[in-house]
Symmetry: C2
Subunit: 163 residues, 2 copies
């Protein structure tokens, strides 16, 4: 263990910045559901994220979704079932492993996702219209880096130590 260092003005400024990041991210997270509902009422945030993920990944397993979004597999199973029932996705059993279903966008899913993306892009375009390209790029990089860091640091032990 290294020697404890006395707090300096630099470390407390850092703390203040971290607090600020937390606060803004949290506020954003809490608003996200409602925001999505207003941008595209026909597709909830939950459905949107799944369809969007499938588009980007060109198909994936339910387990992958659960891992990526930190959800229980039962939750994903039901959401996938609902999207399947609506005809938005298809489940193709993997021939090399009969347990796994590879999820793909179905034609109707492609359509509704595209429609939602139109609204979503319009909203982002308008909101971020005043941002310069350099700031946008940096913001995107920071977010990506943040999410990667969060994923790679599952949890600092906060409680009894179990994970």
């Amino acid at each position: 263990m290294s020697a404890p260092e006395a707090p300096t003005s630099a470390t407390s400024a850092r703390q203040a910045t971290l607090e600020s990041i937390q606060r803004e991210l949290t506020a954003f997270a809490r608003r996200a559901r409602a925001t999505a509902a207003r941008m595209h009422p026909e597709l909830s945030l939950v459905s949107y994220t799944i369809l969007s993920h499938l588009e980007e990944q060109q198909g994936c397993r339910a387990t992958d979704l659960a891992a990526y979004y930190l959800l229980d597999k039962s939750t994903v199973s039901r959401q996938v079932a609902a999207l399947d029932k609506l005809g938005f996705i298809e489940r193709r059993t993997d021939p090399s492993d009969q347990r796994v279903q590879v999820l793909h966008l179905a034609p109707r899913g492609i359509d509704v996702l595209a429609a939602a993306q139109v609204s979503r892009r319009a909203a982002f375009d308008e909101r971020l219209a005043a941002w310069g390209p350099a700031d946008l790029e940096r913001f995107a990089e920071y977010l990506k880096r943040y999410n990667e860091d969060a994923a790679s640091h599952p949890w600092p032990q906060t409680g009894t130590g179990g994970r």
Copy 2:
């Protein structure tokens, strides 16, 4: 109406960046609940945001919370009732307007919030340990600016025009 401009490589690069921002923000939002549950199991994301808001604002009304987090007043009412029942907050009727209750942290609320913040700070400290101060500052600024922009551009009309 201004003349439509042909898409240039600059505009499509911008679009790609906007997509990236959307994607990362959405993934973050979707993970936030579970993340909070792991960081501080004793205080849900929802409770945390309310207590935290009260701490920062030194008290506010239920209506303010609803507006800030884009929630229905009934939702906030129940959450506030739950926090009150747990002894985390106090409701003080505003003497100048008997309709309004000003919400404040109660001693127990201060305690649990502080405990959660310890976990939270530890998590953020670890996650963002590799970030330099300049990047952190900029990230914080961008998030703040993003949230402000989102708040000031309620919605570009996406549907039939109603809000």
